[in-house]
């Protein structure tokens, strides 16, 4: 989902940068609030940030014959919501832009928007929706992680199709979706499973904290 450095027209760089900046700023404010209200959740924040660090460094092969990487953004979104996840994604993306020439500073806003905002936002909606109807949090986290990952890549495809609608928007969108979203499906399933495993351990070690954060289904508390 990384749009490479310089591969987006300046206008789009600015638009995505402004949108992402607002949400990341709100996320920083939320993290401060969480750290004040429930100081014990700081270690949980570190763990979900670390989870994102690992998953986004793994470039995995897909059945389409090309490679891509998962995002790890569903876990954070389910626990702390999309704005907090946007902050963590920003850290990962800056690391990769500066040290790995993966993504870039000019495209940072666009990349935060896909991996840090839309993906986590969908994951968060799906997760909360599942809990509302009393689906077990373990099943809910699978779908949150799966869709968070997939929608990140769908967002990138839309961003590129908006910027490069040649020959038509539809044709460009299909081309980018084929490159990104189709490749991503098996990876997103894998990410879902990995997130379920981590989630299961978190429920063993930190049931009270998860409950306090409102991250468990009503019948689990």
């Amino acid at each position: 989902m990384h749009i490479m450095e310089g591969y987006l027209p300046l206008t789009w760089c600015i638009i995505w940068f402004i949108i992402s900046f607002i949400i990341v700023a709100y996320g920083i404010y939320q993290i401060k609030k969480i750290a004040d209200e429930t100081p014990e959740s700081k270690s949980l924040l570190a763990v979900i940030g670390a989870f994102m660090f690992i998953l986004s460094s793994l470039k995995l092969p897909s059945v389409t014959g090309s490679c891509s990487h998962p995002c790890g953004n569903g876990l954070g979104a389910a626990l702390f919501g999309p704005a907090v996840t946007a902050v963590l994604a920003t850290i990962v993306l800056i690391f990769q832009a500066l040290l790995l020439a993966h993504g870039g500073l000019t495209t940072l806003g666009a990349n935060i928007f896909s991996m840090g905002i839309v993906g986590p936002f969908i994951a968060w909606l799906v997760y909360k929706g599942c809990l509302k109807v009393n689906i077990s949090s373990t099943i809910a986290i699978f779908f949150a992680a799966f869709l968070g990952d997939l929608l990140t890549y769908v967002t990138t495809s839309f961003q590129l199709a908006f910027a490069f609608p040649t020959p038509t928007f539809g044709a460009a969108l299909t081309a980018f979706l084929t490159i990104f979203a189709v490749t991503q499906i098996p990876l997103a399933i894998g990410e879902g499973i990995l997130t379920v495993i981590i989630w299961d351990r978190l429920k063993v070690y930190k049931p009270k904290l998860l409950d306090k954060l409102g991250a468990l289904a009503p019948n689990e508390t």
Partner: protein, 102 residues
């Protein structure tokens, strides 16, 4: 408050891990013998960049610093994963040692 959090059995966790491994090994078996030279196992990010270049767009900015070789790049990727793994391992070990929460 009483917690009735239901956790998975170890066997379920192992089955999930195996499914995960199969998902990522399958492509290696399906395209065994193919490689980068005939267009397999390239990155989707690069494929998108080529698609963009096909519209005659000239990238107007390039990375301030790039890993000078594939070796250095894999070093930094490994470092990224290691940092994440240390943090998760540290806290999971710490929590486990603490025993169940009160």
């Amino acid at each position: 408050m009483k917690h009735k959090v239901i956790n998975m059995k170890t066997s379920t966790l192992i089955i999930l891990a195996v499914i995960c491994i199969i998902i990522f090994i399958a492509p290696l078996i399906m395209y065994n013998g193919h490689g980068e030279d005939d267009g397999y196992f390239g990155g989707s990010d690069d494929a998108a960049s080529e698609q963009i270049e096909a519209t005659n767009f000239e990238p107007w900015f390039s990375s301030i610093w790039e890993p000078p070789s594939g070796e250095i790049e894999s070093l930094l990727f490994a470092l990224q994963a290691a940092i994440g793994a240390i943090i998760i391992g540290y806290f999971f070990g710490y929590w486990r040692g603490q025993g169940k929460e009160e």
